[in-house]
Amino acid sequence: MTLKYAYFPGCVAQGACRELYMSTRSLTQALGIELIELKKASCCGSGTFKEDSQLLEDTVNARNIALAESLNLPLLTHCSTCQGVIGHVDERLKAAQQDDPAYLAQVNGLLKQEGCSPYQGSTEVKHLLWALVADFGIEALQQRVTHKLAGLKCAAFYGCYLLRAQDHLPYDDPYNPQSMERLFEAVGATPIYYRGRTQCCGWPLSSYATTESFKMAGGHIQEAIASGADCIVTPCPLCHLNLDSRQPEVERVVGQELGLPVLHLPQLVALALGISPKELGLDRHVVSTQSVLDKLGV
């Protein structure tokens, strides 16, 4: 049976991390996973809507979820932050169906008033990582690997929202997750364990508390290097922005040259399927990914 998802691309993959959009497309096509892009969806608010009002975060994302519901498909994200925000709204509104129907009625009243489909609570919100590990399956993925990433040491960087924003995490322990590491092994790479993999990249502070933000990112990159990593791999484009695009500034704050490539999750998996680095946008990173490609002989 073909896996099919309502694909929520998010802002960053359509902007500064276009290579994430490209690589998710390439990977899912190669695996025969069908994505129906939600062209009418909107920004999840990245946790910021809620700082203005909970009702704002819930209503805007109830609309996003309802777009997937109208296709009878699970909503697929490829961003830890989108997953944590939309996934948590889904949890909260599903709970409200039982505990607080008046609140749900308020959310749906606003949706109906603006001509949007109401939220039904009939689908689920799923990150690409979980779709690969749980729906497609590790063994099935292993069988599709044509270019084992042998010898490549990968340090996961999960992103806070993927691990701790939802009340119930369906696939991982929030303090000691393993799904990224299982994927690394499935594609022939070697997982590197280091403390930073479950920590914060510092992105939410980067527009106004740059020193603190870059100190945070820098500490994790230093640790990953000290643990022998050839690259960081992340399922979150916001982490990617702070770890990759700001890495030159991070280097200045920690006073050390780092130069550690930061790959998006689908880029890594797609490399193992023999998809070309160019198609995956691996030339579009601030920190060159050449050392990874050299190591793999691609």
Binding site: G45, C160, E181, Q199, M216, S245
Partner: protein, 336 residues
């Protein structure tokens, strides 16, 4: 059943080490029961804080298998189940190992160790004091009888009132690790308790104080660690969000960059459904060309992203922009 406890040991000015103790236990034994037995039966020198044994006093907070928790609340059975699940998930670990299960116990983070599992909590208390966590009635005429509150006014204080000041949130706070000025989630949760209290007469001054620089609410990175480890479901990050809501209601985008960050984000979603990241940087950091230093600080980032083909040259609005815009406006109207 037999289990091993791998316990962090350290005295001031000596290197830390782990010491292992074997113990015959029942799954229902709490971690604190086990530590007590180690202390009483095997090693009287092991130090840890404890008191009520009943999730009330908040004394026995420590890192249990990788996250801060109360030793009197967690038990051997649930910890072993958690470890077994992680083990099955882990790559290359398909069969259960025959080794004796090991529980790892370490002191809280973000505070210096005094001895073994006992940390110096001075900064924790100082930071709590810094938010003035007392209901202030100074500006008011003291009534002849006590201040009255409606039940619904009192209900707003319940969640934060559950805080037992155990330090678990502070221990895992990622902002504290890099920012010594940040007062921490426990303090801001208590801060919200005073903001929400109908008897307090200092709300405006408090909101000013709590939104200053990055010592207060804007220092939070929203990493969710505090919510995740809190044994009392106080959800400090939610309380920080509620303070932010009060601040955002009162202050405009020109007040500070963190506030501009929030306001601009909503404006841009109304404008294009998705965020146009080019405008976001210009408007938040460059303050729409009013902050030239901020603008200049973006220069190297912009150039580097351009050079690597990473700079978004185009922006395609969502096909649902008009709908999202009117929806956001409807929410804003409903909340006015």
């Amino acid at each position: 059943m037999q289990v091993q406890f791998k316990v962090f040991r350290q005295t001031v000015d000596s290197p830390a080490r782990f010491q292992t103790y074997a113990l015959e236990v029942e799954p229902g034994n709490t971690i604190l029961d086990c530590l007590n037995r180690i202390k009483w039966e095997q090693d009287g020198g092991l130090s840890f804080r404890k008191n009520c044994r009943n999730t009330i006093c908040g004394s026995c907070s420590m890192r249990i298998n990788g996250r801060s928790a109360l030793a009197c609340k967690e038990n051997v059975g649930s910890e072993l189940a958690r470890l077994a699940k992680i083990q099955t998930d882990a790559p290359g670990e398909n069969s259960a190992t025959s080794e004796i299960p090991t529980l790892t116990i370490a002191p809280m983070g973000n505070m210096p160790v005094i001895k073994d599992l006992v940390v110096d909590m001075q900064s924790f208390w100082d930071n709590l004091e810094a938010v003035d966590p007392y209901v202030s009635t100074e500006a008011r005429q003291v009534p002849e009888r006590e201040f009255l509150q409606l039940p619904e006014e009192r209900d707003r204080l319940n969640q934060v009132g559950n805080c037992i000041l155990c330090g678990a949130c502070y221990s895992e706070c990622t902002a504290r690790e890099v920012n010594p000025d940040f007062v921490g989630p426990h303090a801001l949760a208590k801060a919200y308790r005073t903001v929400a209290d109908s008897r307090d007469s200092q709300t405006e001054a408090r909101l000013e104080q709590y939104s200053e620089g990055t010592s207060g609410v804007w220092g939070c990175t929203r990493c969710y660690y505090c919510n995740s480890v809190c044994p009392m479901e106080v959800a400090p990050m939610e309380q920080i969000s509620k303070i932010k809501q009060e601040v955002l209601d009162r202050q405009d985008a020109q007040t500070s960059r963190p506030i501009r960050h929030r306001k601009v984000l909503i404006d841009l979603v109304k404008e294009g459904g998705w965020i146009d990241e080019r405008k976001f940087g210009l408007m938040v950091v460059g303050n729409s060309f009013r902050d030239l230093r901020g603008l200049a600080s973006l220069g190297p980032l912009g150039l580097r992203m351009l050079a690597r083909g990473k700079f978004p040259l185009m922006f395609e609005p969502s096909e649902g922009t008009a709908e999202v815009r009117s929806l956001i406006e409807a929410v804003q109207k409903a909340e006015d």
